[in-house]
Symmetry: C2
């Protein structure tokens, strides 16, 4: 439940003028305003599942978007039932000046191409159907001037080929493919968001090598372990173990139980399992850049 | 819409261990926690109308009440459609450990006897059916010892008669009524809450002599007057005029438009119309007591 200085869990990724929001509990729009960020670029909203603390803020957000006279369509992605749940909540937001496009996830793992990035949903293990998400920004290989020259590729085609387009020389009719001028694909960026689940192989597999892994750490006290198992949540220690096994660059903990008043008491223990553990807090943000190469 | 330091409009009245909440926009439960007040005594929730900024926080509040293992029934009062709207929102709060009792207001003015107070709903003028509410706590007359003595009322009956009960003397079978020992009814307490409406006679009539009158003041700039009329809202100046005509003791302004960044700029003007104008702000509260007499 929301607390005065602890908003409900939500993530926003801002990328090339497009924003993706994952989960929208009560107060998410307020938290976003506190960051000073705009609602306007949000073109995709994903839901892990339909418990109130992950979707209760949606009607208010939609109303605010509508008040701002948004007309661009909005894509929503979530477990089966998405359209039914959102339409039911829209009893208080029936008229919106923009279209909502629903994508209900059908497979245990499913990948979507959106706005220049890949989004992968993967099933986790909660009391209701629940998905984690990995957002991946791929990076094509470096342009190899020597190879382009020795292959005799016309100069005017270098730029489109560098951008990954297959090109036909209008003069000769000869076809050139990007792999003729590009080196091996370079490391891209990957962010994985997982909450409301027991540890699963799907999390370990999909979080693998993430630059940022955001994961629930509902409890720290070991006497809450039975509770975590019963309600299908995760201990901070379990999150750290996944981060370690998935070899991520950094993990942020989130979705603390209200009973976990001082998550910092468990940071040392988490860091012993996985050193790059960070305690999530309201408004925490970072900028991820491609590695120089 | 909610802003970081401006929660949506809501009122809670705490009275003799019972709490009445009027309106529950997104974030209401957070605002309540900031006050340090409990959800447990809330036994009545009233809605002025069903626009998102007045009811969007309800599913989250219900979930929080459910998590606290509430079993006492909860009464909800609002315009026709109340049960349909709440049940639709409950798609994310389907299972609650307590019963909800719905009272849909049928008349333009309707009075309810609840938990020791009277609640009067009165229709106002918004784009959708909307009600204002007056909460009235009556106060019976002072006990007149001399009258009780001269009427020869047995001492053992003084206390129940003083509390307003009609009593029969078990020894003589004689019936005594409170008016035999009580003076004239004394001034009670009255709080009136009105938002999302143009000025109406029903507001003036029902706010009459309120100890506290909470009223929307959506805009202050006169060039927003057309806007106020079109969207059926009220100017700060109009609220002050009603407060003056209804001869209330104090008025709190609320429900500012996000475009009204500095309501204090209009306080002087409002006070010229009605001196006891107070600018509402997050968490504003007061204690009302019966007059000494």
């Amino acid at each position: 439940m929301p607390l005065p200085w602890r908003h409900l869990t939500s993530m926003i990724v801002r990328l090339n003028g497009s924003s993706l929001l994952v989960d929208c509990g009560e107060g998410t729009q307020i938290a976003l305003r506190k960051k000073g960020w705009s609602f306007k670029p949000i073109d995709v909203i994903c839901f892990t599942h339909f418990h109130g603390d992950h979707i209760g803020g949606l009607p208010g957000l939609l109303l605010t978007m509508g008040n701002a006279e948004r007309t661009e369509p909005l894509t929503m992605i979530g477990p089966p039932g998405l359209a039914r749940v959102v339409n039911s909540l829209r009893v208080i937001a029936p008229e919106l000046p923009f279209e909502i496009r629903y994508i209900e996830i059908e497979e245990p793992e499913q990948e979507f191409q959106l706005n220049g990035y890949r989004l992968r949903a993967f099933k986790v293990n909660h009391r209701v159907t629940c998905y984690g998400y990995s957002l991946m920004l791929d990076r094509i290989g470096r342009f190899d001037v020597e190879r382009a020259k020795s292959a005799g590729i016309p100069l005017k085609l270098w730029n489109p080929l560098q951008k990954g387009n297959t090109m036909t020389d209008p003069d000769t009719g000869k076809v050139y493919t990007p792999d003729m001028v590009l080196g091996a694909e370079r490391k891209g960026l990957k962010v994985t968001y997982v909450t409301d689940t027991r540890p699963t192989a799907s999390i370990r597999n999909n979080a693998k090598d993430s630059d940022l892994f955001i994961c629930e750490g509902m409890y720290g006290e070991l006497d809450k372990y039975a509770n975590a198992r019963e309600h299908r949540h995760m201990m901070i220690q379990e999150a750290a173990q996944i981060a370690k096994e998935a070899d991520v660059k950094e993990m942020w903990l989130t979705h603390y139980s209200p009973s976990l008043v001082h998550p910092e008491e468990f940071l040392k223990e988490a860091k012993q399992i996985y050193p790059n553990t960070v305690l999530g807090k309201d408004g925490l943000s970072t900028e991820l850049d491609f590695e120089d190469e």
